[in-house]
Amino acid sequence: MIKLRFLAAGGAALLALVFGSQTADAQALDRIIKDKKIRITAELTSPPFGILDKDNKPTGSEVETARQLAKDLGVELELVNVTGPQRIPALLSDRADLAISSLSITTDRAKSVWFSSPHGALSIVIGAGKNVNIKSAADLAGKKIGMTRATLEEQVVPKVAPPGTNIVFFDEHSATQQALLSGQVDAIGGAAFLINALAQRNPDKGIESKFTVTTAYYGIAVKPGNYDLLQWVNTWVFVNKQNGVLAKIYKEHTGVDLIELPPL
């Protein structure tokens, strides 16, 4: 009987050990520093934020931001590859400590994750070939518009689109862009940089930005409950906004100047 009780206690301790490490810990920052490793999401099909360079190495403004953050924290960086729709689930399922993947700050998303102050901004535009007649949201009626799931455009474009707009969704930016290039859709919604980069890589298609739907700020996200980590990240964003590091990374990869970023 004593033996049995001893076993039960041991089992309970083991369970606590296994599951204890899974909870949203208030000491996330301590753990990261102790492990000397931080896990950050990398969405690598979303230029200029995340992309593979000529040597197949991850780069882009968000990846470089992650590198800088890990360096400043003094820990090793582990990039966790995600697709757009996996950015938030990766945090919630504890596969990543931070999401730095151009995650726009919205009230909807804030129900699931906690955002830092914004460290970047982007405009959502409608892009299409020159011969497609779109000047404003009203012209979207009767057209087939492609966009990527789990993006800001998925949230804002349907709100401005008039009835009769046929919106179709893809899982990857690359698929959405391919749909425009192969003529499967009339236009696509996306970040201004994405449309610009697409137009530059395919000059024969005459792709241009038709109109701006909205401008949004994106921040770094943590799993709800990780106060200490969020506090450190906010401090990091503040410091690197002041010293110009964020603006430098942004300009290097997007080719445009970073606009004034308000605090959250």
Partner: protein
């Protein structure tokens, strides 16, 4: 874990999921019928057709069975428009599924055809039946009976594999689940419900196949 499950959001959008499930069922059922027709024709040509046709069928079967379904799907949806052949997303999905299933099922039906004893075919020849008549009246029935379980498994695989076609914006069950997940961020809840729906559909199809088998091969043949 401190995760709090919220199934309410998913059930609010349940009609959408149901719509996606119906499209999944429609796509799978159509692909099964058309794929079986492709398979039965190709299996005949592969075993009794002229040499060049046999080689052509072999190339089709091996080409499809040794390349990823997703890539075939991308080629049909994204690449064919460059040649002037344009499919809507759902059509492209169906075409890809029929082509893929056709290749796998051809091999299965062929195995069945080759399992039919030579003597039976010789009886047909002795009776003066033509090749196609022998295939139709003597070979096909026992061939399908012999490989029916394998065919049914392949059909179920096709049904589950159809989840991939969300990649080209076909709006079947997985696509709806992905969209719900990305707008509600309740990944666990959405995918748990979608998984249960797939399971129910697969079980229903299995029951249907069992019934077909019974009606075609068991009932009235016990004497």
């Amino acid at each position: 874990m401190t995760y709090v499950f919220q199934f309410g959001i998913v059930f609010d959008k349940f009609p959408l999921l149901l719509e996606g499930a119906l499209l999944t069922i429609r796509l799978a059922a159509m692909a099964m019928v058309l794929g079986l027709i492709v398979a039965v024709s190709c299996a005949y040509l592969r075993t009794s057709g002229p040499k060049p046709v046999r080689a052509l069928i072999a190339a089709y079967v091996e080409g499809i069975r040794n390349t990823p379904f997703l890539v075939q799907l991308y080629i049909i949806y994204f690449s064919l428009p460059a040649l002037g052949i344009r499919f809507e997303a759902n059509e492209a999905a169906l075409v890809a599924m029929v082509i893929s299933l056709g290749a796998y099922a051809t091999e299965i039906v062929r195995a069945g055809v080759q399992s039919v004893p030579k003597g039976q075919i010789e009886v047909g020849l002795a009776l003066g039946l033509k090749r196609l008549q022998i295939y139709r009246f003597i070979v096909l029935f026992p061939a399908i009976k012999a490989v029916f379980p394998a065919l049914a498994s392949q059909f179920i695989l096709l049904l589950l594999g159809s989840s991939v076609v969300s990649a080209i914006s076909a709006n079947e069950l997985t696509a709806i689940a992905n969209t719900l997940q990305s707008t509600t961020f309740r990944a666990f809840e959405v995918y748990i419900v979608a998984t249960l729906m797939y399971f129910a559909i697969a079980v229903a199809f299995r029951g249907f196949f069992a019934a077909v088998y019974w009606f075609m091969f068991v009932r009235g043949r016990e004497r």
